[in-house]
Symmetry: C2
Subunit: 382 residues, 2 copies
């Protein structure tokens, strides 16, 4: 049974053509014979994260997407504007595989003991090219899930859990005592709440709708501020003063939120100021933008003194900075708590072909909180 199911497998590909057309399609790829240190994983679950959609859609106008091909081999095309096309110069005419992470069962293993030890195990992988039926990967890159864990349960072991853990670790490393998170009702945001409750770290949650306040309150969040409320700036300042949070992780990116957070942090700092300082408070206030749910421009008024920073934050450089050993500890914590702290929920499980249906793209492409899709590349194949 060492070769069960292998041979060739379907893989999702995204190509931006020089003429300004995005093409998403499925191709048959040969499953390679694993080298001694490698295994073949039958991928059964891979989430569609916001971080996957940049590569998948390449900034194309998906509202103008068209579909062609057959039900088994659909082909989606969509126009890419000249401006976006310029930014995509590095990937033109390349057929790129997609899917950062996922989980599945090891169905074939190379000769090495490390690879052989994984035969039949359910493992999680962060390696790219996961929207594929069979993924060849080094054994060392496989995170073995605890017995009784399904691929669907282990599909999101990396991007959201390590990002959430990375935020808390960054907060500590840079000397802050509490943190702020925006788009806080997301899967990631709920996970961050569970971590912070467990680790006794104060977290200020910013959500964009009243109903999301309840979602977070139900899982035990102490501080939830609704940016659509007229009292938002006062609510946020109160929460920042209560927690002393001086670092924020912002998934929105565009608009005025990053600046509003800094302004509220400054107001909170000045509540305890003893004398007037013309350059504002001396405490460093930091906002890290790690997502772009709002793709519009970021705008702020610099009404928060001179001790501030706004910058990009990304998981991979963070993991490189802390090193393999420290990162491995984080990964092991995720595996151990995959059904509790790091549990993810999905709206729908779809096949690779279903991922190319325009009506599904219209739903998962919106990046709406609470509408998260899981691709099962082997759905219906067994």
């Amino acid at each position: 049974m060492a070769n069960a199911g292998t041979g060739t497998g379907l893989q999702l590909r995204s190509t931006i053509k020089k003429d300004g057309t995005l093409e998403i399609s499925l191709v048959d790829v040969a499953t390679p014979e694993p080298k001694p240190e490698e295994v073949i994983v039958r991928v059964e679950a891979s989430p569609i994260n916001p971080s996957d959609q940049g590569l998948l859609f390449g900034g194309a106008d998906m509202s103008a997407a068209k579909t062609a091909g057959t039900a088994d081999r659909p082909v989606v095309t969509a126009p890419v504007s000249p401006t976006v096309l310029k930014a995509m110069a590095g990937r033109l005419d390349q057929s790129l595989p997609v899917g950062n992470e996922g989980a599945g069962v090891v169905v074939q293993a190379g000769a090495s003991p490390a690879a052989q030890a994984l035969m039949g195990k359910t493992v999680a992988i962060l390696g790219g090219s996961m929207y594929t039926q069979y993924r060849c990967i080094k054994a060392v890159q496989c995170l073995v899930l605890p017995p009784g864990t399904t691929p669907a349960e282990g599909a999101s072991c990396f991007v959201n859990p390590l990002t959430a853990l990375g935020m808390v670790a960054t907060m500590r490393a840079e000397g802050h005592k509490a943190l702020v998170h925006s788009a806080a009702a997301s899967n990631l945001g709920q996970m961050l709440n569970k971590i912070c409750i467990k680790d006794k770290v104060d977290l200020v949650n910013i959500v964009r709708k009243p109903e999301q306040v309840d979602v977070l309150k139900r899982i035990g969040a102490s501080y939830v501020c609704d940016s659509s409320a007229p009292t938002f700036m006062d609510d946020l300042t109160d929460a920042l003063a209560a927690t002393g949070a001086t670092v924020a992780f912002d998934a929105i990116g565009g608009g005025t939120l990053a600046g509003q957070i800094l302004t509220a942090m400054e107001a909170a700092a000045n509540r305890t100021a003893k004398e007037y300082s013309r350059y504002g408070s001396t405490v460093h206030k930091q906002v890290y933008i790690y997502g772009g749910l709002d793709r519009g421009p970021t705008s702020f008024n610099r009404t928060f003194g001179m001790a501030w920073g706004i910058g990009g934050w990304l998981l991979t450089p963070f993991l490189q900075k802390i090193g393999f050993e420290a990162a491995q500890k984080l990964r092991e914590r995720v595996a151990a708590e995959i059904k509790t702290t790091f549990a993810s929920t999905y709206t729908k499980e779809i096949s690779l072909a279903e991922a190319l249906k325009l009506e599904e793209i219209a739903v998962y492409g919106k990046l709406a909180t609470g509408a998260k899709y899981l691709i099962n590349p082997n759905k219906g194949t067994r």
Copy 2:
């Protein structure tokens, strides 16, 4: 002659009243008897820096300023908008002295040898309250100017020179190999060019008018980009690619320039990129905003990957970070090169009373490049 000229002296004061009125006036203050470690300096030159104007005008609408009082004791008033008034809560109804730096002659000294050694010397001071005729200060805070240096020549020993030196030191400390400076034709910008030419550091100058290109080219600048030119983004990208500059110091603050600099840095980095990276180049790109010549909002499009930062930069925290010894070395370099690298030029020398004339405020309040004023609190008194 130990008490020559002392007794009382005029001092400029700025007050924002609770009712929303800024009042700038002159008051008579008693010159204290210096303690053993102190000296009395007869201030003869103190520049009006952009950093002084925040305290002086307190965000009031100076276009609506009125004048009262006498020619010798004028009183200027101007309205402060409710929004600005809120930000000024920490200074309401306080009569604040103004003037960060200046130079003058030591006319009285305390009993300590350090103080006595300064009698008759021309010294420069960074200590605040310099728009005053007689300034009592610790001897250790006086920077003795080389023989033959006038107070006017030594008036700007600190803010601009240390800021320019601080930019180069920050560039080095954070691992960048060249730097960018905006509003580069300013006194500070010209100084930075002289430092960079002398120290063989590549500097990319950004100016806002064609004629400012010539100002900098004449003093030997290699890279000058005019943001009013249609080719600005291409010119800037070329200069960044040629120099490898990945840190910028921006005096403008508002508008789109900070984001444009990051975008051009990213484009320059991608010219040498070997493969497509969906998160952009991995080189960290940083813009420090150290001024606010444009007081409007800062806006950017995040078209520069994820490895970027924008933040405030201020001289005092920089000096605190490097420590007294390192800062003292910088100060000594400034004194030694005060007539060359760190020479400043002024449009006009005015008295304290003249500084309160509306027609003068209309000129120096504009913060225009090449219109820098020097206050001589003892003008006409000798």
